[in-house]
Amino acid sequence: MIAFEQVSVTYDGGESPVLRAVTARVEEGELALVVGRTGAGKSTFLGAVNGLVPHFTGGTLVGRVTVFGRDTRTHKPRELADVVGVVGQDPQAGFVTDVVEEELAYGMEQLGLAPSVMRTRVEEALDLLGIADLRDRPLVSLSGGEQQRVAIGSVLTTHPRVLVLDEPTSALDPTAAEDVLAAVTRLVHDLGVTVLMAEHRLERVVQFADRVIEVRSDGSVLEGPPESMLAVTDVAPPVVQLGRLAGWDPLALSVRDARRRGGSLRAMLSGQAPPPSRSLPAPGGPGHGDTVLTARRIVVRYGDVTAVRGVDLALCAGQIVALMGRNGSGKSSLLWALQGSGPRRSGTVDVRGEDPKSLSSSRARSLVGLVPQTPADLLYLDTVAEECAQADRESSGDSPSRPGSLPAHPSTTRDILDRLVPGVPDDSHPRDLSEGQRLALVLAIQLSAGPDVVLLDEPTRGLDYSGKQSLANILAELASQGRAVVVSTHDVEFAAIAADRVVVMATGDIVADGPTADVVGRSPSIAPQVAKILAPLEYLTIDQVARSLGAAFLEPSETGLPDPPRDAPRDASREAPSGSAGPAAP
């Protein structure tokens, strides 16, 4: 049992508290979902559970946090290691040793358990998480999902009563994420472990949650059972948003429930054709619809592994393409080959008559811009302003006007950045920016060269719903300027709201290519939630449904997501969310 009593946390040098008078309880054996926008203080909340906040981070904690009777003020994180297990977002960053088996045993070695006990528990953990055949493997050779399961196993071996998971699946592809979540739910159901989990993609987990804890942007915390909490939270998965739109009470939390309840909604919508899925339809700008990039028979090989096998691809101006497929299917290799910086065994790429591979890298980037998977790799200066100035210098070397290309950008990197994400302070360190701001900075740097084709490799990692919506809006703007945009992603909900066309890759081949609704909407496995609920109607996004139902009874929020009807009548017999420190709470 975890109890927060009137807890406020202020970091050293912080102007305002990150958590404000939080009172919350998580009972034994519960799966509690911690939700909230990026930067709202979810990590602080989770860190306070085992005392990392403030023992590790420094700062002031007012109030009291107890975990199964142990007070974090008297117990440092290491003294809670046998009660609380913590798994972070990037499992690799938390590995101390380099082989699976040793990593599983590390925590027990610190606790000083007997070798025979350790051996038994390691075997248990290997079986419990289905990683028995990885036991001798070096950790660096594992895939993301395997690494995350090893990370969970490595804290499980100390037999903690609480498991704290901070966005365990945000860096994983759907399959790997599901393996991890399946393992977590198995722990909750079979072992009775109490789990506290923060998660961006709520659609995957919300149905298993016993309790939802929302950390709001002002530092207060609301908690309650999922059905009533999700009616009011800032962030909500599509299935919940659909329920809010339709006014269902209680809300349906799983696709199955929503499908059973959705008969009337389907009937209401069946009369009309769905509006286009992209929120901002591309206007007929200059050169829209022209083929900008033509790739033929692209082959990429690393040693004896063929990553891309003879792919043909044509990209049109003003079109947004989502490149999907599981990890290792060749998405990144294809993007790098299209840009010209990556290896390419054979094949040709033609961007307005030139092959970027044969050009200097600064000329190539003025044709095709690529934002890599870890955008921070491109940043090496001390402030945002310096990075912008450096990018202007780098881009000014390009020939100002190419025949038939877009007009050269008169604006500076700083202007582009302000248009993408307003209000990034000039003097902040690029590494201190939020995930979304950093992505926007790198995108602005790449756009400063004025490329006709923009490629983004996995940009949605670590973005929450509103971040993804903003990214979708940015991409739509880029497309409306007449650029061709390709974005590789695992996130089908994002592809549904952002893309005109979806290309699916598997083992280096393109296995599907077509308009979003055709490729994604009809697939049983990768369809977005709305499509699953409303099939056979061809709806993909909440936005489409909202527009069909008539925008009259909705007020579109700033993010483009419909706001929940705040004053919707609520069944009084259901437990209302207990606000611990809302404006009205004492």
């Binding site: 380099d98 050779s141 399946a182 149905q207 890298s361 921070a376 491109l378 780098e394």
Partner: protein
């Protein structure tokens, strides 16, 4: 589980692949090195090298450090070369009357500051041969150490560190596991540089690569620290204040003893007890402090390396070789150190040769190292991987990207804690 294992005989033991205790390898190698340090007989030294070669070829693992032996061989050649060249250039034999002069280098008159240093002069067969023999001996010592490095698993050897040096071990373990990630990060950043045009050379390029790698590494370090802290790193075993003060006294006192001992050793006029006895007393004092200080950390080792019959035999064979050569068993006259003046052909004394050959049993007695399954460097495509992982324990849902609704099924089907 380990308790029930019966004591395995050597014969049984060597069929089962496992890593031999690193300390056994080190004792074996140091024993051979000691043996080699007793002789300049090139035949015996060649025999030592042969023994090392046979054992290394048979019992080294496939780890990166196991490829280092050839560098040691190269280094040994360099050492032999240095000795011979220096002897040739700087060591012209002045009284070369009764020696065989091979050739004579011009004698270079040196400036006054180098008075006493001889450059050039006659080069004799005797002098060159002596340099060759002693170089061979030093090279042989190097190769013994190389063999220990190659055969003993350094990560396992870290576990032998006393508790007081726990942090040293942890930092090195972290370094060993972070190094491959750093290499990967370096390659990624270097590739990404092109995306920004990668203009300019030298300074800016260096900075553009070094800064992202370093910043990424330091960020990773903080995450790692949080993970270590919450996984129990640094839990202390609760040593009382009195013990800590006593440890401090031991350390400081021991160091003072060592200082005094070192002084006594170097200064011949110092009273005799100030030399070696004080040094030993100081060393013991420090050792006690280290042992007691190590108790502050209470931790255990997962799958500790056992010390079985194979370890005894391997370590013993090294010690035996050293003992035989120390005692000079079966060696007469110039058997161990053949004369170079007058020139003679070295002969192979039987006793020492047998002693050295005994050490070769390690190639047979030591269990073969475990060969990790190859192909683990690149992850297989996830679906096939997952299916095979889970088939062993319980029936799991087919891992397709299905909506999360399937997960309940997995949870309820699972049959409790295995075993």
């Amino acid at each position: 589980m380990r308790r029930r294992t019966r004591r395995w005989a050597v014969a049984d033991d060597r069929r089962v692949p496992r890593t031999l205790h690193p300390v056994a390898w080190w004792i074996w190698a140091v024993g051979l090195a000691t043996a080699a340090s007793r002789t300049t007989n090139p035949l015996l030294l060649a025999l030592v090298l042969a023994v090392l070669g046979v054992v290394v070829a048979n019992r080294r693992s496939e780890a990166p450090w196991a490829r280092a032996f050839k560098y040691y061989l190269a280094m040994a050649l360099v050492v032999v070369g240095i000795r011979v060249v220096f002897r040739t250039i700087f060591g012209g034999d002045i009284n070369a009357e009764d020696m065989h002069v091979l050739f004579t280098l011009p004698h270079v008159p040196l400036p006054s500051w180098a008075a006493g240093v001889q450059l050039g002069g006659p080069v004799t067969a005797e002098g060159t041969l002596a340099a060759l023999y002693s170089g061979l001996q030093l090279g042989c010592l190097l190769c013994c150490l190389g063999a220990a490095n190659v055969l003993a698993n350094p990560k396992r050897a870290l576990r032998v560190l006393p508790g007081a040096l726990y942090e040293l071990g942890v930092a090195v373990v972290v370094a060993l596991s972070v190094a491959p990630q750093l290499v990967e990060s370096f390659q990624r950043v270097r590739r990404a540089r092109k995306l920004r045009g990668a203009q300019g050379r030298g300074l800016r390029v260096l900075r553009g690569i070094a800064v992202p790698v370093l910043e990424g590494a330091l960020e990773r370090a903080l995450w790692l620290a949080a993970a270590m802290d919450s996984r129990g790193y640094g839990r202390t075993g609760g040593v009382s204040r009195r013990v800590r003060v006593f440890v401090g006294l031991c350390m400081v006192g021991g160091m003072c003893g060592l200082c005094a001992g070192a002084y006594g050793l170097l200064d011949a006029t110092a009273p005799l007890p100030l030399g070696v006895p004080t040094l030993i007393a100081g060393g013991l004092c420090c050792a006690v402090g280290l042992a007691l200080g190590g108790r502050q950390v209470h931790r255990t080792h997962y799958r500790p390396d056992p010390w079985r019959a194979s370890e005894w035999v391997v370590a013993g064979s090294g010690v035996f070789a050293a003992a035989v050569l120390f005692a000079g068993l079966g060696a007469h006259g110039h058997g161990l150190n053949p004369s170079t003046h007058p020139l003679t052909w070295p002969s192979l004394p039987v006793g020492p040769a047998l002693g050295i050959l005994t050490a070769a049993v390690a190639a047979v007695v030591a269990p073969p190292p475990r060969r990790p399954a190859r192909g683990g460097t690149r992850p297989a495509p996830p679906p096939a991987q997952e299916t095979t992982c889970q088939a062993g324990s319980e029936r799991a849902a087919p891992p397709t990207s299905r909506p999360a609704g399937k997960i309940v099924g997995v949870g309820s089907q699972a049959s409790g804690v295995p075993r």
